[in-house]
Structures are given as structure tokens and as C-alpha cells.
């Protein structure tokens, strides 16, 4: 009997190894392991054998069955994998067709994207972000910021005043800069403070390089022992974050009513070497100077502190710096936008290039 089992197994193994299709394999499974096949029949007949033979015959028949089952299963798995591969190979599409449905991706406006980028730089430096009213009073917009009574910005030719908007320092106007928030914040918060004020500002100007509304970011830091060198370091960090790690900074003395000393800040041009582009031509971005004017700043003027002295600001113990930059200008420089008007036309072909 055991010989017969070995014979069946040998024959089955040979046939399984040469089976070419899953159909042929299935026929072999029925032939050798099906209900009417010899090997299962042998196993069923083991009980009728003499007791001393049962163990050996049963074991060998069982082992043979398991071996064959494993072989068939392995072969079946192989056939299945091959057939799947073949089926997938037939099931192909043109992957270069566009995605569908078309899920449009929206865009932040370049001004918003730039504002966020700048906000994030200063948040990283420990600044908070605050916003303030766009309709302001003469007090906050000019008086408290040490603008003399004859300062040209007060003129009706320069600033937008609101109808029925009060008299004197209570008269209302569209803020001409984000600086009024310097005063509002210092009135509410004792030092130390470090904050930036992004927002919309308005000036009566409309030409190739001016729009009557534009966007600024004001910065103000007040603490003990703050110096002009700290201002330089802060703005250098800003310039490098926005315009690249190789940037240098240049401070040029200037005049602003609410800072003393006041400086205008230039960043080294990021598209040329000292004013000259590859090929020896004059750089059109910095006009050959090697420097880009980006913002105005300075040390907070003692008279500004005087306007908020009752809120804990004493120029003998506290110093601070302030700066104001134009978001449009930063965006134009960084992205090469040639004309301010693009920002407010809102042409989708422009908007989709950024943000």
C-alpha cells in the first residue's frame, strides 16, 4: 500500500509541475485529490486495514495528500498572479490625460501672501500681530506722532478727510499710515511690547507709482536697552528671510517726525552684483545702485513717548524702534511685478501666478 501511495505522489508531482494553466491544475486537483480520486479513497480505506498497518499507511497517505495540496496551492497562486498581471497589463489608460473632475486650486492674492510671509518672519522673532481702524482721528494719525501743524501730509491735497468728521485733533480721516497703532497700543499695553501692524492705508495720490490705497506693515518694539543696532539686526533678519540669506543692509539717515534718529533702509539687490548683471549691463531692478530702498524706520522719538507717558513709557528708562514698510513694494521687488495697478485689477491671469 505504501508503495502505491509513493507511486501516486510521484506521478501527481510530475503532472502538477508540468501543468500549464489554472484549468489544467484544477483538473489535476480533481484527479488526485477529488472525492473519487485514489488517494482520498486510500485514506478512507485505512480504517479497514489491519491495526499494525493502519498507522504507517495512514501517515504516508496523509503526508502525500498534504504535499500535493501544497503544491497545487502554490501553483494556483502562481497562476493567479500571472493572470492578474496579464489582466492589468490589458487594462491601461492614457495617463497623460488631464485630471478629471478638474478640481481648481485657488490662490491667495500676492499682497496677502506677502503680508503673511512678512507676518511669519516677525512672529518668529517674537512679535505679535495687531490691527487697527482705517478711519482714524487726526490725533492718532498726526498729532500724537509729532507731526508739526504745517506737515504737508495733513493737507487736503494729500490725505482723505471724512465728511462730518469733527474738528481739530478729533477730525477723522483715512489713516495715511499704520503708525497710529503705535499710539493706540502703547495706550493699552505697558512695555515691553513687540508688535507689527499690517493694514490698508490711504493717500491722495494716483500715478504710475502710487495708488490711493495701499498696504503697510508697521513694526514697534519697546523695551529697556533697545538700540539702533538692534533695529539694524532685526531688519537684517527680515531682509534675509524675505530676499535671501546673502542680503546686506544699509541704513541711510533720514527724517520722520516720529523717530529720532530716523533711517531709510536699503537691502542689497538680489539680482545683481553691485549694480551690474551678468553680461555687464546695468541692473534694472536697483537701477545700477546695488541697493533697493525697502522701508523707513528709526528710534521712537521722545515726543511720541511723551504722548503716552502716563501709560508707563519713560524715554529715560525705555527705548524702542519703529519701522514701516509697504507690502506692495516688497511684493513688486521680490516677484518682479512692474506696475502697481496689477494688484487692484484682480485679473485672474495675474492672480493665478502667485499665492
Amino acid at each position: 500500500m505504501i508503495e502505491r501511495v509513493a507511486e501516486i505522489q510521484k506521478q501527481a508531482e510530475a503532472e502538477i509541475s508540468t501543468a500549464a494553466t489554472s484549468v489544467a491544475l484544477e483538473q489535476l486537483r480533481v484527479k488526485y485529490l477529488g472525492r473519487k480520486a485514489e488517494l482520498p479513497q486510500l485514506l478512507r480505506d485505512v480504517a479497514e486495514l489491519p491495526a499494525e498497518q493502519r498507522g504507517a499507511v495512514g501517515r504516508s497517505a496523509n503526508e502525500a495528500r498534504q504535499t500535493l495540496e501544497a503544491l497545487i496551492e502554490a501553483a494556483a497562486a502562481r497562476f493567479e498572479a500571472e493572470e492578474l498581471t496579464a489582466a492589468l497589463a490589458d487594462d491601461n489608460v492614457d495617463v497623460t490625460l488631464p485630471g478629471s473632475p478638474v478640481e481648481a486650486h485657488g490662490h491667495h492674492h500676492l499682497l496677502s501672501a506677502t503680508r503673511r510671509e512678512i507676518e511669519d518672519v516677525f512672529c518668529g522673532l517674537g512679535y505679535s500681530v495687531v490691527e487697527g481702524p482705517e478711519v482714524e482721528t487726526v490725533h492718532y494719525n498726526f498729532d500724537a506722532l509729532n507731526h508739526g501743524p504745517a506737515h504737508p501730509a495733513r493737507a487736503r491735497s494729500d490725505s482723505f478727510y471724512i465728511e462730518g468728521g469733527g474738528d481739530g485733533s478729533e477730525q477723522t480721516l483715512l489713516r495715511t499710515h499704520t503708525s497710529p497703532m503705535q499710539i493706540r497700543i502703547m495706550e493699552q499695553t505697558p512695555p515691553p511690547i513687540a508688535l507689527i501692524v499690517p493694514g490698508r492705508v490711504f493717500r491722495r495720490d494716483s500715478d504710475a507709482t502710487h495708488t490711493p490705497q495701499f498696504h503697510q506693515i508697521e513694526g514697534l518694539l519697546v523695551d529697556e536697552g533697545v538700540t539702533l543696532a538692534d533695529l539694524k539686526g532685526t531688519l537684517l533678519a527680515f531682509a534675509r528671510a524675505i530676499f535671501g540669506a546673502d542680503r546686506e543692509l544699509r541704513l541711510r539717515p533720514h527724517f520722520f517726525p516720529f523717530t529720532e534718529p530716523s533711517v531709510e533702509v536699503d537691502v542689497s539687490c538680489f539680482v545683481c552684483e553691485q549694480g551690474t548683471v551678468a553680461g555687464g549691463n546695468r541692473c534694472s531692478l536697483c537701477k545700477g545702485t546695488g541697493w533697493l530702498e525697502v522701508l523707513g524706520s528709526g528710534m521712537v522719538d521722545p515726543s511720541v513717548f511723551a504722548a503716552v507717558s502716563e501709560h508707563g513709557y519713560d524715554p529715560e528708562s525705555h527705548q524702542g524702534f519703529a519701522f514701516g514698510l509697504g507690502i506692495e513694494r516688497i511684493a513688486m521687488l521680490k516677484h518682479g511685478v512692474p506696475d502697481l495697478r496689477f494688484f487692484y485689477e484682480n485679473d485672474l491671469r495675474f492672480l493665478r501666478q502667485f499665492g
Binding site: 488631464p98 478638474v102 512672529c123 490698508r200 541704513l251 485672474l348
Partner: protein, 809 residues
């Protein structure tokens, strides 16, 4: 202001090239807008010539053939077209090779058959005035062949500095010279007013004139000198050339002197014809209502009581600090001149020139606030020139009302304060050197310097910080270290939660395919009519601009919707097939606000979608058009991202489709709206498609977002999910069905959402079927069917009783 280097060099020995000089000035606080060349590009080949003979050209009526001695071995033959050329004249000659102002190089030419070896110059040919008709005749006594530049400034590089408003002293070339001296170390020469020929006459007023100043506040100082036997005539060439280099026209010797002295000293002067001053009496006073004055430019000016004027017995004769009057103007007949140098209140001058729309060289200087002492300096310099150039004599005495300004203040400049403000030290000796170069006088003190401020910096330098700026800017900021401020108290910084949520809301819309726009805050007042607002609608309380640039920009927008419609119309007109836009920005209503601000401002977030909800694609050829449900879904996305619980209710807004208007309500009140724009409003923007729109007061939304979100256990015990189909009368809103289900199944209904709507025959006329997902859940156990069954019954009953609803199928 124009500063010819040639002129500047009279007061300071300029050692740098114009470009280097302007760079140095820029780095010390005086930006130079541009540097340009006035006159010919080079001085070479311009010489003095003597006309030896002048004869009629044989073949041309209007030309003369001249023989001109140009200091060479042989005289030159020069053909000249000027009618006045004559033998014996000393003239200016351009020789062949000379490069004229327009860049052309003069050559040897032949004019009607006669060779011409040079050109006899008229004034306009060399950039002095516009005189072209006659040869420019020079004073005799200069040798032929002398370089013309030895006689007058033929050409000069010119700086155009942008003087900051605090530096009234730099309104004159001498002030710039002082800056150049301090910034470059170039030696400064004595001021041109150091010698005053009238010094002896200062104590008394000249006889025969009187001046009364009504309001010393408007006129802190008024000085006058009187000159007799004045011959008014042409100015000498050197003076004309100087003025031309500074961009000014020569008028007459007396007027030119006033302009010349102003350009050097920064202090404007005014010359009166004393014989035209009625009674010899001048009064400085406020104008009276209705008074008029004809100014030098021939314009009649209507005055008001805020305007300061100078009057004589016959009334107004000069507009103080802005422009003289024509009545007392110096003319060819003038022989007696009253020279006024006064100081006016800057703010008042600024107001007057703004009010009259009249800005002059004088007003732009006075409005910065000039020092009283400067008035006599200008008198001194002008006196020298009047005596020299007009043949006049000075009548004894100097009229002076107001006198000098307050005594100079002394400010302590502490070494330690320099370090603490700048972050780097400046040696005391260096500070002293800088301050003295700028005209301050300095005494050593224990901890620094005691600094006396000169009169011309009196208003500008009043505190230690101002002195530190002076030494810092001249010392240079290039070497200042770059450090970061210490953060001893540990400011954390960063965006507030509200600011983060506003960003999140914007990001949601970007993620949903919308493009952000930035619209104008300005709007046209017709906006209210275009939005079909009732005459008493709250949005009609606009913020109105008193001095708009145009009526189309004369109010502030009361809503973001018009900005979005503007942008959509713009893009649709330029070929865009669809538009999905949003804006995050301020909207305005008249104030005052609850917080006491001048206007009611809030941060709005608005969006519109026109066209398909997505762009069609090959596997999605016809996506549905955006409608109210599209806007609803966007609102859900935004408020869902912020974690805000909200409800929809029917609404009514004039600018929205009356059947497709929804209001967004939270526990805090109305937060905004969504819907479809009214077709009549859309038509006003020339848009003839449905416009899905939404607007949220995102500032308030962010403020009421739960902060921080708190944990609910939604995972330990899975919900039991059932779908219900309810048939209700057509007028019953989905929100009321959801509310009914939620309430009846309270507290175990954790979610109820409509996922299908069907209104066909099978549900009957006037009825609609809503399909809902309903989740039952508890936080502490898994619910069994037995526990839910009675709730389900309660829901069915409530639907029946409250909404006349019945379960379908």
C-alpha cells in the same frame, strides 16, 4: 532745489566728484534726487573775444562777417546773425570743437560762401535765459582769449538735493555747503553775510517809513532797509548765469539780488518800490473778509481772515511770505527800494499757500519755519549786492520789529546715552568735531559735552536725541553692528487665535478653488442703488470722503459684494468663462462704533462663484452650475473649519434673489448670508448668469469660535445609524425637519443630515420627500436597538404632529 557745484564751491572746497558727493550726502541724511549738467558739457573752447570789425555779409542781408580776436595769433572770421553785433564789443565765442548744451560739436562751417570759424554766442545758446535776438555783450576789460568760465559759470554739474522738512537751513546753498563741510571734511569758507555794509545802521530805523505788526505770532520778525538812487536794469552776466544754473530766470538786478540771496541763505526777501507804498507805512495784519490782492503773477487773489498780508494806506500790497503784490512791484522806474526780510509763521504760510493753490520759492521755505536771526543775515548779503550792482545808496537805519529769536539752548550730550541709543560708542572728540563742523558750539562736561544750538537749527535740535542723530548721521551708520534685541521678559509673539482662524477661513476658500482678490475700499455712492437698497437701509449709512479723488471713489464700501462683482465683471469681459473669487477685507459703515471708533469697520469674508462649480473635464463634462447650495457648502466649509455651530434661516436682502437668500445665525446673532445675487443686481454689472455668493463677518466668527476645542468621546461607543425618508408639505424647510428630529430624539441623536430631496409623483402633489441620515449615540455606552426603538417612535410622532410629516415606504 538746485545746487550748482560751481556755486557751491564758492562756499566750500568741494573735493569729490558730483556722484561721490551725492552718495556721501545721501549717506549723511540729504538724499540727492539727481545730478545733471547745466550748460555745455565742457568749458573748453568757450573764450572771450573782441570784435575787431563787423561787415555786411556779401550774400545775406541778415548776416555779418566779423573779425574777432580770440587771443590767438590771427583773428578769426566768424559769421554772425545777431543784429546788434558791432566792432569794439567784448563777446563770448564758441570755437570749433566746443560741445554745446545739446551735445552737438561745433565745426568749421561755410555760411553763404563765407567760412566761419566759431560762433558769437547769444544768451540762450549757453543756457542763460531765453534771449536769442542779440549777441551777449560782456563787460570790457577782460583780455581776448580768456576762458569764458573765468568770467561766469558757463556750465556746472548741478545737484538736486531732497531736503527733509526739518532742515529749513538747507533751503540755501550755504546750508548745503555746511553739510558738505561736515560730511566730507572739505574746508568751509566764511558765510557771504559775514560782512554787513549796513552793520552800523542796525540800531535805528530808517527815516520816512514805519511798520506795524498786528500779530507777532504770525510775523515773529520783520526787518527792512531802504536804498535810494537805485538804477533798475539788467543783471551782470555772472548773476544771470548763477540764477540760470539754479533754474531761475533773470528779471532785473534788484529782483535777481533778492532771488540770489534767497538761494544762498535759504531766507526769502522781498523788494518793494518804496514810492508805491502809500504813506510809507506798512502794516502786517490778517486779511479782512472780502479783501483782494493782485499778486506778482497777475492773478487776483480773494483773501480770508486766516491769511496774513502786508498793507499800506491803500490796502493790501503783498501776500506775506508767499508772493508780493503787483501794486508795489519794483519796475524800471523804481529808484527807491524797501527791502523786506521777515520771518513768518510756517503753519500759517502753509495754510495760505494751500488755500490759494499758490506755492512759491518763498512759501516753501517759510513754511518750514525760518530763524529770526537769518533775516538780518539775508539783509547783510543783499545790502552788499545792492550797493555793488544797482548804484543805490543805503539810507541809515535798519527797521526791525520782533528782533532776534529766543536765546540759544544748551543741551547735554552724554557719552553713555550715545551708546545706549545707538548700540555703539562715538568718541567724544569725534562728536565735538562733527557738531562744530555743523555750526554748534561745544563745551566739555563731566559725562559728555554741553552743546549750544545755532539759531538755524533752533527748531530742529531741541533734545539730546536730536544731537545723537547729528553725530550718528555724520559719523556714518555703515559700521553700526547688527544685533537683535534681548527678550528678557519672554515675549512669545505669534498670531492670535482669531488671526489664525481668519487665515484658516481664507485657506479653506483657496482650497475650494477660489482666487483671492483685493478690491478697492473706495466706492461710488450709487452703489446703494445698484444693490437695490431701500432708502432707509442700514447699509446706506456710508462713510463719505470729504475730498475724494473722484466721485466714483467718494465713499467707502458698505459690503464686499460690489468689489467681488467688479472683479468678476472685469474678468468675464476679458474672456474668463467662470469666476470663483473671494476677498478678505474691511467693510465700512458710518460710526461711531460701539468701541468708540470713528467708523463701524468689520473684517468681512465674501465669495462669489459664477459658472460651473468646477471646470469641466473629460470625465466630468458638465459639472452643475454654482447655485445657492454651492455657496451654502462653502459657508459650511468655512464655519466648519472654525468649529462654529450655526443654523440657516430664510432671509431677505435686496441684492439677493428673493427665493434664494439665506441668513447665517449663531448663538451670537446673525453672522452673514449666502444665496444667489438678484438678477437685476447682476445685470447692473452686466453679468447674466446665476451668481452664488456668500458673506461672513469673519472677525466676529473668529472671535466666537470655541477656544480651545474640548474633547468629546466619539470613538469608544460607535453610533447606531438609521436612514429616514420623510414626506412633508412642500413649504416645510429642511432645517425644521432636522430640528424636529434632533429635538424629538434628544439627547441621543448625535447627527441628523439631509442627504436627498425628492419631489416627484410618488410623494404626491405639494409634498416633498427628504432623506436623512440619523445617528444615535451616547458617550458612555453602545446603544441597543431596544433603547433606540422608542426614540424612533417619538421622532415619527413629532414629525407627524409638528410638521404634518410621514415616513415614506
Amino acid at each position: 532745489m538746485r545746487v550748482p557745484i560751481d556755486w557751491l564751491s564758492e562756499y566750500v572746497e568741494v573735493q569729490l566728484t558730483p556722484d561721490k558727493l551725492s552718495e556721501r550726502l545721501a549717506m549723511t541724511g540729504t538724499e540727492v534726487a539727481r545730478v545733471f549738467r547745466h550748460g555745455p558739457l565742457a568749458d573748453e573752447n568757450f573764450v572771450v573775444g573782441k570784435v575787431l570789425s563787423a561787415q555786411q555779409h556779401p550774400d545775406a542781408d541778415r548776416l555779418s562777417v566779423c573779425s574777432v580776436d580770440c587771443g590767438e595769433s590771427e583773428p578769426r572770421t566768424i559769421v554772425c546773425g545777431a543784429p546788434n553785433v558791432a566792432a569794439g564789443q567784448t563777446v563770448a565765442v564758441a570755437l570749433p570743437g566746443a560741445v554745446m548744451a545739446d551735445g552737438t560739436e561745433l565745426g568749421e562751417v561755410t555760411l553763404r560762401g563765407v567760412g566761419s570759424s566759431g560762433m558769437i554766442l547769444a544768451e540762450d545758446e549757453i543756457g542763460i535765459g531765453s534771449e536769442h535776438d542779440g549777441t551777449m555783450v560782456l563787460a570790457d576789460g577782460v583780455a581776448a582769449g580768456t576762458p569764458l568760465s573765468d568770467v561766469f559759470a558757463v556750465s556746472s554739474d548741478v545737484l538736486e538735493p531732497e531736503v527733509t522738512p526739518n532742515r529749513a537751513d538747507c533751503g540755501g546753498i550755504y546750508g548745503i555747503a555746511r553739510e558738505v563741510h561736515a560730511a566730507t571734511g572739505a574746508p568751509l569758507k566764511a558765510a557771504p553775510w559775514a560782512e554787513d555794509p549796513g552793520a552800523a545802521t542796525i540800531a535805528t530805523a530808517p527815516a520816512g517809513i514805519s511798520v506795524t505788526v498786528d500779530d507777532q505770532g504770525l510775523c515773529p520778525r520783520f526787518t527792512a532797509r531802504v536804498f535810494e538812487n537805485v538804477t533798475v536794469g539788467e543783471s551782470p552776466i555772472w548773476l544771470k548765469a548763477r540764477l540760470a544754473g539754479a533754474g531761475q530766470r533773470s528779471i532785473s538786478n534788484v529782483v535777481d539780488i533778492t532771488n540770489y540771496v534767497m538761494l544762498v541763505s535759504g531766507h526769502p526777501l522781498h523788494a518793494f518800490d518804496l514810492d508805491q507804498i502809500a504813506g510809507g507805512e506798512l502794516t502786517v495784519r490778517a486779511a479782512r473778509e472780502g479783501e483782494k490782492l493782485v499778486t506778482l503773477d497777475g492773478e487776483e487773489r480773494a483773501l480770508d481772515p486766516d491769511i496774513c498780508l502786508i498793507a499800506d494806506r491803500d490796502g493790501p500790497t503783498s501776500l506775506a511770505g508767499v508772493m508780493g503784490g503787483s501794486r508795489s512791484e519794483v519796475s524800471e522806474r523804481t529808484t527807491r527800494v524797501l527791502l523786506e526780510v521777515a520771518v513768518w509763521d510756517g503753519a500759517n504760510i502753509n495754510r495760505t499757500s494751500t488755500r490759494l493753490g499758490l506755492r512759491s520759492e518763498a512759501s516753501s521755505r517759510f513754511e518750514k519755519g525760518l530763524s529770526p536771526e537769518g533775516a538780518l543775515e539775508a539783509q547783510a548779503m543783499a545790502t552788499t549786492l545792492m550797493l555793488e550792482l544797482t548804484g543805490g545808496t543805503l539810507i541809515d537805519g535798519t527797521l526791525d520789529v520782533g528782533g532776534e529769536g529766543p536765546p540759544a539752548v544748551v543741551i547735554r550730550l552724554r557719552d553713555a546715552r550715545i551708546v545706549s541709543l545707538l548700540g555703539a560708542p562715538i568718541e567724544r572728540e569725534r562728536s565735538q568735531q562733527i557738531l562744530e563742523a555743523l555750526g554748534f558750539s561745544v563745551q566739555p562736561a563731566d559725562d559728555g559735552l554741553d552743546v549750544t544750538v545755532p539759531h538755524w537749527r533752533r527748531d530742529d535740535v531741541t533734545r539730546e536725541a536730536d544731537l545723537i542723530e547729528e553725530v550718528a548721521r555724520i559719523n556714518g551708520l555703515e559700521s553700526l553692528p547688527a544685533t537683535l534685541p534681548l527678550n528678557r521678559t519672554g515675549r512669545a509673539g505669534g498670531l492670535s487665535r482669531e488671526q489664525q482662524l481668519v487665515r484658516r477661513a481664507e485657506d479653506v476658500l483657496v482650497g475650494r478653488g477660489l482666487c483671492e482678490i483685493v478690491g478697492w475700499s473706495f466706492a461710488d455712492p450709487t452703489i446703494c442703488d445698484r444693490l437695490l437698497l431701500d432708502h432707509d437701509h442700514p447699509l446706506r449709512s456710508l462713510v463719505v470722503i470729504e475730498n475724494p479723488m473722484s466721485s466714483a471713489q467718494s465713499v467707502l464700501r458698505p459690503s464686499i459684494l460690489p468689489s467681488l462683482l467688479d472683479a468678476a465683471a472685469y474678468n468675464l469681459a476679458r474672456g474668463a468663462e467662470s469666476c470663483a473669487l473671494f476677498e478678505s477685507g474691511t467693510v465700512y459703515r458710518a460710526g461711531p462704533s460701539e468701541a468708540g471708533m470713528a467708523a463701524n469697520e468689520h473684517h468681512g469674508l465674501g465669495g462669489i462663484i459664477i459658472g460651473p462649480v468646477r471646470d469641466p473635464g473629460w470625465a466630468d463634462a458638465r459639472p452643475p452650475a454654482a447655485r445657492i447650495e454651492t455657496a451654502h457648502a462653502l459657508v459650511s466649509s468655512v464655519l466648519g473649519a472654525l468649529g462654529i455651530q450655526w443654523q440657516v434661516e430664510d432671509g431677505e436682502l435686496s441684492f439677493l434673489h428673493p427665493g434664494r437668500t439665506a441668513m447665517i445665525r449663531t448663538a451670537d446673532g446673525l453672522l452673514g448670508w449666502f444665496g444667489e445675487v438678484h438678477p437685476a443686481v447682476a445685470a447692473s454689472w452686466e453679468i447674466d448668469q446665476p451668481i452664488a455668493a456668500l458673506a461672513i463677518d469673519i472677525g466676529r466668527a473668529a472671535a466666537q469660535a470655541p477656544s480651545p476645542p474640548f474633547f468629546s468621546d466619539l470613538t469608544s461607543y460607535p453610533p447606531l445609524r438609521e436612514d429616514l425618508a420623510v414626506i412633508v408639505p412642500a413649504g416645510v424647510s429642511a432645517a425644521s425637519v432636522v430640528a424636529c428630529v434632533t429635538q424629538a430624539g434628544s439627547p441621543l441623536v448625535s447627527r441628523a443630515e439631509v442627504f436627498d430631496v425628492y419631489g416627484g409623483e410618488q410623494v404626491g402633489e405639494g409634498r416633498v420627500s427628504l432623506a436623512l441620515h440619523v445617528d444615535f449615540a451616547a458617550e458612555d455606552r453602545t446603544l441597543s436597538d431596544e433603547e433606540v426603538a422608542p426614540l424612533r417612535e417619538k421622532i415619527v410622532t413629532a414629525l407627524k404632529v409638528e410638521l404634518d410629516g410621514e415616513l415614506r415606504g
